[in-house]
């Protein structure tokens, strides 16, 4: 007897991916996650463009991680051009980064994952069965977006961030208003932890290598070193020693591997590698969610995101306090030093470690670029998880196996592409 489970276009993930599993006589014969997106050629688009445009072009790689791509892009350019950032620039970038992290994590935890646990197919019926939950998610998303808009001029695709600094600065009154809303938002954060602490996470363990950025003095989101849970610590310039990209037949996305057959990046990797640097309130949230490092259940990536929601809200309040104490200075962007050079930027965007590597000529134009996104780095690990999970749930119905696999894919919060939204209509008559 054989069963073939195919889920085409897994829903509630970004972009297009198919699950293919074949079970024959109780044995797992085939297990793949096909990425069927077409390549997008952003690296080729960057060649020949002035360095000032790179962050605005690469921001468009993703409508969710736009600030993450822009920040990583700026760091790559700034490393290449020997730019030293002011403390104010670093604080403002961290603040808007937290805004995007919150926005993305609220989207994933509430809109994409919660429906699986609350017995509904999507967030739309959830709005009827758990109205307060959806309203809370929308309030939190709006606050997150307003953080980005206050610092960088708009919610998505930041316009005020530039090489060396900012072209626009938030008013003190705007920052005070944001602070007030963040403090009031603690009630929503508390309710979020309570909600996700009550969910029955699927039981599944598989140890893997967890890779994230790491910094000596803070929970790393921007810059730092590459840290593997297997013990290695590398400068970000050596990213290719970690990613080792390779091609497989069934995927248009490149796969990666480091010490083992695969590794995991994202909130769970950060949580496992940098737990000690989380805000005390975030550590309390981890306790409430009953997780502590090392967590080896990939479904708990979502729980780690909830912990990071707490951390980002508290750290955003801290950053605003520092900015208010210092006062906002309308400083000019730091100067660049144009020579033939290259630079690597690395950030922890919501889905994990992101690398941009640029080669810039004396004329200020890019001659080459390499971008390695977190979802690529996670796909090999996702497949390894699927291979380990299926034999444990073979006694379940095909429908239950299918749902478990979809939930596993969603736990990784994959961002397979960003695409157009187009409406089609039919007359009711």
């Amino acid at each position: 007897m054989s069963e073939r489970i195919e889920v085409h276009h897994v829903t509630r993930v970004e972009g297009h991916g198919n699950i293919v599993v074949e079970i024959s006589d109780g044995q797992l014969k085939e297990c793949r996650f096909d990425v069927i997106e077409t390549p997008r050629f952003f690296e080729a688009m960057l060649r020949g463009r002035p360095y000032q445009e790179a962050s605005h072009i690469t921001s468009r790689i993703c409508g969710i991680c736009a600030t993450g791509h822009a920040t990583t892009s700026l760091r790559a350019t700034e490393k290449a051009l020997g730019v030293e950032l002011s403390d104010q620039t670093k604080l403002l970038r961290k603040l808007t980064f937290h805004g995007e992290m919150l926005d993305s994590h609220v989207l994933h935890t509430y809109m994409l994952v919660a429906p699986d646990f609350l017995g509904v197919g999507s967030v739309i019926p959830l709005a009827t069965t758990h109205r307060e939950v959806v309203l809370r998610a929308l309030r939190m998303k709006k606050l997150a977006g307003d953080i980005c808009a206050t610092v960088t001029g708009r919610h998505t695709h930041p316009i005020a961030m530039t090489v060396g600094g900012f072209t626009y600065f938030p008013k003190v009154s705007d920052l005070k208003a944001l602070r007030q809303r963040l403090v009031a938002g603690r009630a929503d954060v508390k309710a979020t932890v309570e909600l996700f602490a009550s969910l029955p996470w699927p039981k599944f363990e598989r140890d893997t290598e967890y890779i994230s950025l790491s910094k000596p003095d803070e929970y790393a989101f921007i810059d730092g070193e590459i840290l593997s849970s297997d013990g290695d610590r590398l400068p970000i310039e050596d990213y290719q020693k970690v990613t080792n990209e390779y091609l497989v037949e069934h995927s248009s996305a490149k796969f990666t591997r480091h010490n083992r057959k695969s590794y995991m990046v994202g909130a769970l990797a950060r949580f496992n590698n940098n737990f000690e640097q989380l805000h005390p309130s975030a550590k309390e949230a981890a306790q409430a969610l009953n997780i502590k490092p090392k967590v080896t259940n990939p479904f708990l990536n979502t729980a780690a995101q909830v912990v990071e929601i707490v951390h980002c809200v508290e750290d955003a309040i801290n950053i605003i306090d520092q900015l208010l104490e210092r006062g906002i200075s309308t400083e000019k962007p730091a100067p660049v030093n144009l020579t033939n050079s290259n630079g690597v930027g690395a950030c922890e965007v919501p889905r994990g470690i992101l690398f941009h590597h640029y080669w810039i000529g004396e004329d200020g134009n890019l001659s080459g670029a390499n971008c390695i996104i977190p979802t690529n780095q996670n796909i090999a690990n996702l497949e390894e998880d699927m291979r380990a999970l299926v034999p444990q749930i073979l006694d379940k119905s095909v429908e239950e196996i299918r749902l478990s696999l979809e939930m596993l894919v969603r736990a990784y919060d994959p961002c397979i592409s960003c695409s157009v939204h187009v409406l089609k209509i039919e007359d009711r008559a």
């Binding site: 809109m111 709005a127 959806v134 309203l135 998303k141 157009v420 939204h421 409406l423 089609k424 007359d427």
Partner: protein, 160 residues
Amino acid sequence: MVNLNPQCKETTLILGIGNPLLGDDGVGIRAVELLAEKELPPYIKIELVGTPGWGLPAWLEGWSSVILVDAVQMGQTPGTWRRFSPDEIWLITHCDLLSLHQADLASGLALTEALDMLPDQITFYGIEPACLDPGNDLSQVVRSSLPSLIDCILDDIRKE
């Protein structure tokens, strides 16, 4: 009702929807940019929202009247535009072209409705696109439809 837009003073919101990097998908954005250059009544607020996805309820909540301008596939000649209310049509998610985490305008509106946060009056202006390939420019045929579209929206809001 939880007010997500406590500051809103105007009563009619005009939203430009779409991705201006994908050819005619940006027509909604371009149309409201042109509208913003006109003399408008004080109760009108214009926003370029792009692809709001699940965030749509936060945009719509608290408004009594909302006008949405967007590229819409209606099976008409490219450049044709239509004015319609949500009651007149079914909104269908395009199978091949999905937006952020599969929350397109239709899903965003469905979520707003499920939350009972729909404005009393919603008006769509849909423009049939000619080309949705990557690019900043609108096609000639869609661009030439903009003046009559904007005149009609202006007539609409001045009647209110």
